[in-house]
Amino acid sequence: MYRCDRQNTRPATGCRDGHAGSCDDDRCDSRGDDRIILHADMNCFYAAVECFRRPELRSRPVVVGGHEELRHGIVLAKNLLAKAAGIKTGDTLWTARRKCPGLVTLPPDYRLYMRYSREARAIYYDYTDRVEPFGPDEAWLDVTGSAGLFGGHAYAGRMIAREISERIKAELGVTVSIGVSWNKIFAKFGSDYKKPDAITPITRENYRDLVWRAPAGDLLYVGRATRRKLARAGILTIGDIATAPAGMLRGMLGKMGSILHGFARGEDATPVRVLDADSSTVDYAVKSVGNGLTAPHDLHDAREVRLLLYLLAESVAQRLRELRLRARGIAVTVRNGDLEWYERQAQLRLPTLLTGELADGAWNLVAANEGFDSDPDRRLQGTRAIRSLGLRAINLQPMSVATQTDLFCDEERRIRTERLEFVVDQARRRFGNTSLRRACELGDAQMSNVDIKRDNVVHPVGFFQS
């Protein structure tokens, strides 16, 4: 294993091997305060899994394609032999077969792929808790904190990459390409640079050669439309984007122009988001979980409002528990008429995924903004009625993040309730949503027949928001 030879000089800044200033050794992964980010991408994912479990297919061109019965089935994944025949992801199966007689087409087995996806992630988690999946077959890993375990020198990044790559091959029977860099964008570029089964470090010394010479479209988030706009201005490579005047890019592409400019220059500082390892979904990028409902009749009665909030809270909390997220805040939308509506937000005292705590938080917000009479059974003052209600859990954090409790709550009871609610969810998944109901739902015949969609809206977060 190569080590920098100037290891003993130890300036305040420099590469991880202690090189003063900017290290010109291109085998160095990073500078002193740089992060070490890996992007791992399983090659030809679905097709690779199929070829692994059926060895007889490995010598044949194979594609995995969806909805054959609809006649519009398209290629979701292809192995290298199918790729060599000119088949592209997104081709119709009909086109693919014409390009490649003797093609083996398989229907997707998503459960199997998701299992592989989880197993690969389990391997990543052996090296860091900072794992951010990007689709089922890709993930970013921030291994900066693990560098010390690998000698702490410049090659920790690629040593970890090598070990992960070998383990995925030995334990799962498929291959990965891994990019190693100091930012997410270049790490992603590195994993795309050479496939399959490759490791590509993008360093401060080689990025001008590797990244800047590549076509602009190879940069993450440069789509076809953006690429065309750039090409019209003579910007053809990633290097062109990096060296173009920032103002010109902003003029052409707006805010995205500045962002791409930074990406191309390796200035992307977005963190690898920490997400819960046990979550049930692959796409963790959830910003808020919400649900809304128009009441069967306009609501005047505080009790009805509370009940509706409870139903909403239950559906939202159930989704939170499924995603293994806790909410630190809550937002309520109240619509009184066609044009008359408002949203109010509040922080919760403790991060929670409990139905009752979300419902109470929501009720406090509504009660503070609507003039209910002091007697909770009383009707809303005046003629204002509530037509519909929405509830969103916001400021989410993974369950695995430790939370600070306080002296004024019964934490033991909260933990017990949490466990109970997980069990209730399980029962509902097996026996249906109406198999277990809250007593409060049963009081009002009309209200309890309200159809709360338990599989509610999840708003995925964009890449730049965090």
């Binding site: 090659n43 030809c44 097709a47 690779a48 070829c51 692994f52 479990r53 059926r54 060895p55 007889e56 490995r58 010598s59 192995n79 290298l80 032999l81 091959k169 030995a170 334990e171 799962l172 029977g173 498929v174 291959t175 399959p196």
Partner: protein, 96 residues
């Protein structure tokens, strides 16, 4: 693909095992064909692994039976071995 040489196929087998209090599973016997029982003398290694030869993966045990070593895989609910068969197709081992 070649034919005529000895190759390997995935063969599911009946296995007896012991599960420890901590949940660790150790196979003790492999049953073969009708009633033939092979006692596992030692488990030499245990690790998650994939068998490229026959296309299966799981916890791989390196076991010693009557002085000979062999791999035994625990895959989900069932166990399999890489059975050697004459005239079996031999597939390219690299995936894809």
């Amino acid at each position: 693909m070649m034919r005529g040489v000895a190759g390997r196929v995935k063969r599911y087998v009946q296995v007896a095992s012991v599960t420890s209090v901590e949940g660790a599973v150790t196979p003790t016997d492999v049953f073969w064909d009708e009633g033939k029982r092979y006692h596992i003398d030692r488990v030499l290694d245990r690790r998650p692994a994939a068998s490229l030869k026959v296309g299966g993966k799981g916890m791989r045990y390196l076991v010693e039976i009557a002085g000979r070593q062999s791999y035994l895989y625990y895959e989900g609910p069932a166990w399999f071995v890489e059975e050697i068969v004459r005239n079996a197709p031999v597939y390219a081992t690299p995936p894809l």
